[in-house]
Symmetry: C2
Subunit: 302 residues, 2 copies
């Protein structure tokens, strides 16, 4: 059986007349007769009763008509959906994020992507940097978000944003009384650092910036992510350098202050990583959305 048989059968069933059906199908009558005969023979079922006035469906034919229409519409849907999938408009994208990256940029990015590709199901996974790279290689995810990423042989990097660093500090802290805080003044104050885990990370960036300013930070506590870090600041464990997107975390007793006399390039990046050889149209569409986001959100990059 062929899809052609179904197309022909539906035409004959609807016209109840082989000649008219043949005209509608742009073929002549005899081949159509033969195709219908073939179909009946293959099924072993009489689908039509031939009358001098035309073709009339049997009960089995009625049923087969329903089925044939179903199949034809399913075929149509299949091609259409496949084409949409090919254009990256249908499917699934597995995205890894890190502990506190749910702030600011990423939600906006995902929202923008959703708007352009409403039928792509975005699945979020929380992973550390090392887990992300492993999951990328195992194809469990297609995109990972993180900071301080370096390109690898098989892993591409695309920058999403560059953020200023701010100081999260307790409102009652002595430094918080000053009109402005010089970066080097942090030397004498215990500091909360994050994240623990795979190096190099944001921790190394902070320590590097301190040493550029000529001091070693007093480490009060190392924690897993920015959320925990700011929570410890609220609990009086010290101060904490955070990316500006952390300001979406509002604690009653924590204020975010800019720093002066900072070393050059007092920023931290947010980037995404992906398999370089990933041909997926969905990934291409996603990276395009990232590019678009960078252009339309100049406030979050320097």
């Amino acid at each position: 059986m062929d899809l052609r048989h179904l197309r022909y059968f539906v035409a004959v069933a609807e016209e109840e007349n082989i000649g008219r059906a043949a005209a509608r199908l742009h073929i002549s009558q005899p081949p159509l007769t033969r195709q219908i005969q073939q179909l009946e023979e293959e099924l072993g079922v009489t689908l039509f009763i031939r009358t001098p006035r035309g073709m009339e469906l049997t009960q089995a034919g009625e049923l087969f008509l329903e089925e044939a229409r179903n199949i034809r519409s399913l075929v149509e849907q299949a091609t259409e959906r496949t084409q949409r999938a090919d254009q990256g408009k249908l499917g699934r994208l597995d995205v890894a994020i890190f502990g506190s990256a749910i702030l600011d940029a990423i939600p906006k990015l995902l929202l923008a992507f959703r708007n352009h590709h409403p039928d792509v199901k975005v699945v979020l996974h929380t992973m550390t940097k090392a887990e992300q790279i492993e999951a990328l290689r195992q194809r469990r995810i297609s995109v990972g978000f993180n900071r301080m990423l370096t390109p690898l042989e098989d892993i591409g990097v695309q920058q999403v944003a560059i953020e200023d660093l701010l100081l999260a500090i307790h409102a009652d802290h002595p430094l918080a009384r000053q009109p402005s805080i010089r970066f080097a003044d942090l030397q004498d104050h215990p500091m909360v650092l994050f994240p623990t885990g795979a190096r190099p990370s944001f921790i190394d960036r902070v320590i590097g910036l301190c040493s550029e300013s000529g001091f070693q930070p007093q480490i009060s506590q190392e924690v897993g992510d920015a959320v925990t870090g700011v929570a410890l600041v609220a609990g009086g464990f010290g101060v904490c350098l955070v990316p500006e997107s952390a300001t979406t975390l509002q604690f009653p007793s924590v204020v975010y202050l800019p720093l002066t006399d900072t070393p050059p390039n007092f920023h931290v990046d947010l980037s995404c990583i992906y398999r370089k050889n990933d041909q997926s149209p969905i990934l291409a569409a996603f990276l395009e959305t990232v590019e678009e986001y960078k252009k339309t959100s100049p406030g979050s990059r320097r």
Copy 2:
């Protein structure tokens, strides 16, 4: 696109290798390559990425694989269901019954048919004799049950059962005290007759039997069906001749008694009617069940 394309595509997708897939399909490799290329071209979508180790599905290909499997299984189901419909094992049978025919034979018959053809949906309609014939001609029903039917040009009749006639009589009625009741003794007692409506009917049979015995019945009341008739007997309106299947109606004050000295052929038939030119396998199966029923229920015919 063809069902062949789908079959080939699924094979290649499953084997991830054109050569092996070709072997599985019992064709050589080059035609298979070409068919896959055709499919991709027609869809305008790259379904596979060719690697030196074989064929790997793209994301769009993964989706199309699901769809292709769906379609193929639907095609399989369609042929199977159509064949079952052709054998009268799947479909719908519209059956008309008359007022009180729901007694005895018809439920048993329908039950037997259900057992042999569980996927045929039997739909019951209550209709008078005239309505049944009109509905048959308009193809709204396929079978009708009634009594006293005569074959017509386009309508076939098949007898289902022949029932004895009994007298429904109030337990306190004077005649009910006698050891046996002679039919002619009904002459002096008012009688409830049914059904009203299209003639000839059961009414005419009863009147005919009376005149064969040499009397005219005293008509107490004409009612629509046996159920109402027996109810009036219970209410003291008189006696009522009923087919023996009416004994399934048990009223506390009504008894059913046989009659003696009856004219010959003191019976009434129950038959079904159908379109003579109806080729439906379901009807054929139903009439066969009727035939079977007559053989296995000798008690209900004489």
